[in-house]
């Protein structure tokens, strides 16, 4: 049914397990555990790769050299960073809401790890191909706002609180246009299933059919992942680091990890929803195309981030409500009309 190296490897593994264990349910459980572990590993490695990548790319944009001391050409810099972060003193400020404060970074990591289950990495390679995939995905990503607000409230710091409040405001302002923009894709595909969305792009990518939705999605994705120029939540020149001002060491590293995981998420989502997912010419396997596209997307988001100054909160919110939302609605209308005309022809 499916082709591709990853899929056939998984099938082979399943057969070996089947012959060893014999119980189908048990094999399913083992396979799921293996897949989840691989996904978590991808997430952790991507954080390592992206820290270095981000610093090197940012250095390139800023006419600097970037990290070049640890390992050959600074390749081990993120390992050194990781060791440093683990080694740091865990400072718990006075007057905080202890439970909320401790839970916030952990809870933040949950949604950003969970959505990896819905990404089709290759033909048939998707951990949970549920029939409401896109819907679930949006629902889960919008949960990231809660830990931010929790951390902001529990830190008992004014900077954190302002940051937490800003998260809520921008989530409300930008989740709606994003959903409406993605509506166009759902209308074209006729399904919310992630694999079906990729399948529908086997001939024409949705970036061609849905250019408006693509532009809206780029903007809203930057907001969702708190990337500059929309990083108001941690706008360091105003509110220092927003919700995670009061966190140190590994707790802070969890925020950091979530941030990079989110960055990769929006890269993967852009690839999956608009750039044809794992589709590509045959000389490379599907998953290679998938990662190439993802990295190009991430590079693009970093490029944008290191070029523009930060927006102000009022400009940003009015842009979301007054510009993006109407455009997204027009896009839904145009898509409907387009489908109608296509069907008539």
């Amino acid at each position: 049914m499916h082709s591709g190296i990853l899929y056939s490897t998984a099938q082979a593994l399943r057969e070996i397990l089947m012959s060893l264990v014999g119980v189908p349910l048990l094999v399913d459980i083992i396979m799921t555990v293996i897949c989840a572990t691989i996904l978590l590993l991808i997430m952790a490695t991507s954080a390592l790769v992206f820290t270095l990548g981000e610093r090197k790319i940012c250095a390139f944009i800023q006419v600097r050299i970037g990290p070049n001391r640890v390992g050959p050409g600074g390749l081990l810099q993120s390992v050194a960073d990781m060791i440093k972060l683990m080694d740091k003193e865990d400072i718990v400020p006075r007057g905080i809401d202890k439970w909320l404060w401790v839970l916030s970074p952990i809870l933040l990591l949950v949604p950003s790890a969970l959505i990896y289950a819905f990404f089709p990495f290759d033909d048939g390679v998707i951990l949970a191909d549920v029939n409401v995939g896109l819907f679930l995905l949006i629902a889960i990503t919008s949960q990231t706002v809660l830990p931010f607000l929790m951390g902001g409230y529990a830190s008992n710091s004014k900077y954190s609180l302002i940051g937490g409040m800003r998260t809520v405001a921008q989530m409300l302002g930008y989740e709606v246009p994003m959903v409406f923009a993605l509506m166009g894709i759902v209308m074209l595909t006729g399904s919310l299933k992630m694999s079906a969305i990729v399948e529908a792009q086997s001939n024409v990518w949705f970036i061609v059919l849905q250019p408006l939705a693509f532009l809206i999605y780029i903007v809203t994705a930057l907001v969702e992942s708190n990337r500059p120029p929309f990083n108001l939540v941690e706008g360091e020149s105003e509110i220092i680091a927003g919700p995670f001002t009061e966190y140190t060491g590994m707790r802070w590293a969890l925020f950091f990890l979530a941030e990079f995981s989110n960055l990769m998420c929006i890269g993967i989502l852009t690839t999956t929803l608009f750039l044809g997912g794992w589709h590509g010419p045959d000389f490379l396997p599907g998953f290679a195309w998938f990662w190439i596209k993802t990295f190009i997307c991430v590079l693009f988001y970093q490029w944008v981030g290191w070029t523009f100054p930060r927006l102000r909160i009022d400009t940003m919110l009015s842009f979301g409500w007054k510009v993006l939302l109407p455009i997204a609605l027009v896009n839904v209308l145009l898509t409907g009309v387009g489908i109608y005309i296509y069907n008539i022809m």
């Binding site: 940012c58 800023q62 006419v63 900077y159 120029p229 360091e236 020149s237 220092i240 290191w306 102000r312």
Partner: protein, 365 residues
Amino acid sequence: MAQTEKFVLNMGPQHPSTHGVLQVQVELDGENIVGATPVMGYLHRGIEKLMESRTYVQCVPYTDRLDYVSAMNNNLGFCMAVEKLANIEVPRRAEYIRVICAELNRIASHHVFIGSLTNDLGSATGMIYAFRDREKILDLFNIICGARMTAHYIRIGGVAADAQEEFLRDTQKFIDYVPAMLDEYDRIFTGNEIFQARMQNTSIITKEDALKYSMSGPNIRASGIDYDIRKIDKYGAYGDFDFEIPLGKQGDNWDRYIVRLKEIQQSANIIQQALDNLPEGPYMAKVPKVLKPPKGDAYHRVENTRGELGFYIVSDGSTKPYRVHIRRPSIVNLQALDTMCRGMLLADAVTAFATIDPLMGEVDC
């Protein structure tokens, strides 16, 4: 019952965007500012008091530490005040070299302004570009006097050493680079939509307010008031050069930025003229080894990068000044901060700090 209340947010002295150790107590209603009170003194070193126990020559290095990003201008102000007090005639060549250095330093200081402004607006990339170009000027200072920031190059009676061929050549090279540099800034910052949206029509200082708060320097010129000591007093060799005073229209953050950008162009213009007409001759007047100005007092002001820098010196006829008072533009300009921030958003406060361009070494003295 749910209710809202105002709260005070401390920005600084340890905060990523306050310049140096400025503390601003911002009173907030949500994200809206209803008041801003600057609190100073974290860098107070008592320079005025220290100068009372040093000889006139020993005082000059202290002026480097006032406004440490435009040290040459401060040296110039103090030296000219002492020269006025002791009636010392400065050679023409020294005056020209002083102008070259002061204007180079003005450009370097505006680089710091642009850098910190863009950084405060959330674009760290801009800072690196501005500081990269500032480095070129600091290297020039390194050639001429061996120091990069706290130069102590302008001395009482002239300058510490003659301008070498190498310095003049490299300065010319830098001046030739200025148009390309400004063009690059235009492409990175000035033309940026977000940059414009955040700066235009924010933190407006009207003409009346600018006069009321005795502001000076680019800040008052951005409000449309033609007030530049270089043009008014024509101190030193400034009378010889032809340059324009860029003026703003309405005194918002954008005007303050544009005025400084244009000033870089004008400074380069002045340097070019000074380089072309650099007279030959001595670079130092005959100043007695033990300088004892006659009894009396003198006030002299120069146009620092930040505005009107004045030195009031009282001499009791001994080798040490009896009293030195420094009229620092930064501290006077800071009075407008409350007016600038009121009614704006929190993010605008940061822009306001940046465009008013206070330097804590000078504010706290």
